[in-house]
Symmetry: C2
Subunit: 122 residues, 2 copies
């Protein structure tokens, strides 16, 4: 496997900077078979996933990563666990969260998100 840690870091930076500026554009990172579980709400495929992300009830959002760990899988994918803090709108107190990504290589080049699980810390 190539530099999975570098690819993971680059992906996560790109993901959250896109999320925090224009989350409509996250659609390019998913495919029709992609799965998102967002706070227990399951979504399958680009359209359902983007619809969910765009409908989240905040205008401003800012992610700050506290830990990022990655491993290669036995089928040439990359699994990533992120923990971080999320500040929305004018809330003073950021929320802790955990997010898992499973990246798979696109035959056409690059990587896409096959699995995505987001959970706010309690």
């Amino acid at each position: 496997m190539a530099d999975f840690a570098g690819i993971a870091k680059q992906f996560v930076d790109h993901y959250y900077s896109t999320f925090d500026t224009n989350r409509q554009n996250l659609g390019g990172l998913y495919r029709d078979g992609s799965m998102l579980t967002f706070q227990s709400s399951p979504h399958l495929g680009v359209n359902s996933i983007v619809e969910k992300l765009v409908s989240l009830p905040f205008q401003k959002v800012k992610h700050a990563i506290t830990a990022l760990e990655a491993q290669p899988t036995s089928t040439s994918g990359i699994v990533i666990l992120v923990t971080g803090q999320l500040a929305v709108d004018d809330e003073q107190n950021p929320l802790g969260y955990s997010q898992f990504f499973h990246l798979v290589q696109d035959p056409a080049g690059g990587w896409f998100v096959q699995n995505d699980i987001f959970t706010l810390a309690m």
Copy 2:
């Protein structure tokens, strides 16, 4: 895919009850190609993983799950994100944690842990 959510729940319950009673016995859940990243410390294979888990500097430990989400993968595996609280020894304040598992079917039957990432919440 069979009942991935049920398998995930059953696995996680078994994993933490074993961890909290005799973590030496967790070895049976890993294989030689299994990977554990424990607080940024990487371990490959059953022996290295069990050695790490057994060497953790506490006598008593108790996991309490606050959220468990699972998805099937495109290669018949199961990915699981757990968030929870961890109480060690006689510490009054439990620690928040996130843990990711990637379960793969064993040709001999059952499931094993291909990827495992553990991170304490900051």
